[in-house]
């Protein structure tokens, strides 16, 4: 467990030293969401209908764009190889890296979402559901993104490739995440959506670090 904490703390410390860089995904998120009213039209009724989906898709893209660098920098300076040679289970290291990515990127997205939701004229109850759904769903994105980052490590067009590989796998999170908001909006209980998101999170947390560890070992062979 100390290896988990050490890798996690190291990644947070590195992010704190590059604060502007760490904030880029949230900035991307805000800019991307605010493009939609410009493109679709400023009518509040339309915006309210698409709000949850827009916020979710933009959060998804922000996660995927930022996760491409999760292992690339450590790979470039050789520290990733040292981590894997250290004898600590690679699965644990992969889980710690994903957790750190969520803390640096996912949590700010969750915090920014209510403000963004207000811009799209979402109701307070819908905002609550959106935050809760993102809280359960964004860790799934970080975990799956970790698999993609490990698979595309050191490749020429790794960024676009990662998005092509991982986006289809994130569709369940997107469906249940924006579905929860839709359910609350139409007056139904969203507890089913939240249960499924929670199940998805547990399942992904069990599978993704394992797959990431395998992919890392393959990439560094």
């Amino acid at each position: 467990m100390s290896a988990f904490a050490a890798v996690y703390a190291r990644d947070l410390r590195l992010a704190l030293r590059r604060r502007v860089e760490a904030l880029l995904p949230v900035v991307f998120f805000v800019v991307a969401v605010s493009l939609f009213p410009v493109g679709v039209g400023p009518e509040p009724q339309t915006l309210r209908v698409i709000a949850a989906g827009v916020v979710w898709v933009c959060a998804l893209l922000a996660s995927m764009l930022s996760v491409a660098n999760l292992y690339a920098l450590d790979h470039a300076d050789g520290s990733l190889e040292q981590m894997l040679l250290s004898g600590h289970p690679p699965t644990l290291i992969a889980a710690a890296k994903a957790a750190a990515h969520w803390t640096i990127t996912g949590a700010p997205l969750v915090l920014a979402a209510p403000v963004i939701g207000l811009l799209l004229d979402m109701s307070p109850t819908a905002l609550g559901a959106l935050v809760a759904a993102l809280l359960l769903g964004t860790p799934v994105l970080s975990l799956l993104g970790g698999v993609g980052a490990a698979l595309t490590l050191g490749l020429r067009s790794s960024g676009v490739l990662l998005i092509l590989l991982i986006l289809p796998l994130t569709i369940p999170a997107l469906i249940f995440g924006s579905g929860a908001v839709g359910a609350v909006d139409s007056g139904i209980s969203a507890s089913g959506h939240f249960s499924l998101l929670g199940a998805l999170l547990i399942f992904t947390a069990l599978i993704a670090p394992l797959a990431t560890a395998m992919a890392l070992r393959i990439a560094l062979e």
Partner: protein
């Protein structure tokens, strides 16, 4: 001649010889069954009471959709075998399956949309089946993109195996979430599942076309695997021997 073992054709040279022996028959089977299936489908099978003649595209559509799903599992299976047992031929087979699987997925979507226009009045609906078939196409494209952008062949095979396995594990989750999403968003406007009972001849035509597509898939995947084997084993004696024979 040695006794046949399960691993006999894992050697690329023996696989190459096997394909040479089997492929002409597979092509013959593919062409013959296609002609028979199309003939029965287009000339013998009766006109559908509700859909008229436009239903006849199912003789291509349904087999293509079946194969698109089976081939993904086959690809994941061979990729996993190749990775776990370090079997070269299995990894090559997985790579060889991917383009054919993507082709059938595309064909299923394309013919489905041709069928949808006269029947539903639209080229595309975000129906659960259509959506999950589209996602399957993305999964195929992701696999092809990943293995072809890794220059190191061995790493490409293994990374592809991890991706195919993660995809295969996720396919049921994706499918059921899409079904759920669909029932939430769409009223029962169109029901693809409630198909009326098929006439005997229609079923025969569909069966023949399915077998024809199977034969085609085997033949083309084998040929592609042969090409991959020749390319990867170009420095070995058996490929040199083949090349010398060709030169004569």
């Amino acid at each position: 001649m040695n006794a046949l073992r399960w691993s006999t054709f894992a050697a690329p040279s023996r696989f190459y010889a096997l394909v040479n022996a089997v492929n002409p028959w597979l092509w013959l089977l593919a062409v013959g069954l296609t002609l028979a299936g199309l003939y029965i489908g287009f000339f013998v099978a009766p006109v559908d009471a509700t859909q008229g003649n436009s239903y006849r595209i199912i003789f291509i559509h349904v087999p293509a959709a079946w194969l698109s799903m089976v081939l993904y599992l086959a690809m994941a299976f061979w990729a996993a075998i190749g990775w776990m047992l370090n079997a070269r031929m299995a990894s090559m087979l997985a790579r060889a399956i991917a383009p054919t699987g993507a082709l059938f997925t595309f064909l299923a979507l394309w013919t489905g949309s041709f069928w949808g226009k006269p029947t539903w009045g639209t080229w595309w609906v975000w129906d659960a089946r259509l959506t999950s078939e589209l996602i399957l196409l993305f999964l195929y494209l992701g696999y092809i993109a990943l293995v072809s952008s890794i220059d190191d062949v061995v790493r490409g095979d293994k990374a592809g195996a991890v991706l195919a396995l993660v995809g295969a594990v996720n396919v049921p989750i994706i499918y059921f979430s899409v079904v759920w999403w669909n029932t939430l968003h769409q009223g029962a406007t169109i029901s693809v599942t409630a198909a009326p009972k098929m006439a005997q001849t229609m079923l025969v035509a569909m069966l023949l076309m399915t077998l024809a597509f199977w034969a085609y898939a085997f033949a083309v995947v084998f040929t592609r695997a042969q090409a991959l084997a020749l390319e990867r084993e170009r420095d070995t004696d058996w490929v040199r021997g083949l090349a010398r024979k060709e030169m004569k």
